[in-house]
Symmetry: C2
Subunit: 113 residues, 2 copies
């Protein structure tokens, strides 16, 4: 057997540094492919292909304007990340809580002296 993971899920889509750069540059707002190409100094096919991947998972949306294609973020699709992270956030806080309790215990033990 072989690989199982594909590019076709949100987590894989953002695993690529160049794709994150593209997403980052779109935070500023809608941009044409050519603009991204010059802004990020990437080749045009490279950008187009990454945009395709991002499109397929819904992280960006495309709008035609003349012969240009304007891409924009679809921040709602970041939800899976939030949901996934939230569970760890919980674990993280729990750990902080325990740390907190531990520190308080230490304090209480020290007070009587």
């Amino acid at each position: 057997m072989a690989r199982s993971s594909t590019t076709s899920d949100v987590f894989n889509a953002i695993a690529e540094a160049h794709r994150r750069e593209i997403l980052d540059t779109l935070i500023g707002g809608e941009k044409a492919v050519g603009t991204i190409v010059t802004d990020l100094s990437m080749s045009q096919p490279q950008v187009s292909k990454h945009l395709r991947v991002l499109s397929e998972v819904g992280l960006v949306r495309c709008r035609a304007e003349g012969r240009r294609r304007l891409y924009r973020l679809e921040p709602a699709r970041l939800r899976p990340f939030h949901e996934w992270l939230a569970r760890y956030e919980q674990a993280w806080n729990d750990r902080l809580d325990r740390m907190d309790e531990y520190l308080k215990e230490l304090q209480q033990e020290g007070e009587p002296q």
Copy 2:
């Protein structure tokens, strides 16, 4: 030329579904490799190798206990991911704010009538 991305960052580490499963199962707390193997029905080498990747990016930590190795989450290492997401959160809120202002403007325009 060829690929540029490696497994050696948090984003790639969590891109793999099986690795996310492993992280998920560790939310409950420290677990031995064998436990993960049976809990997730994965092969032992498979689990070991994924744990290695997770270790290398610091998402898990290992502790030896006899001949077993207990792995635990290191949720603090999700911080890069969290921070990355936060920037989009910002963009998202800004958008909502603008939407809000826009709606208020509409309301104000409507009132005089």
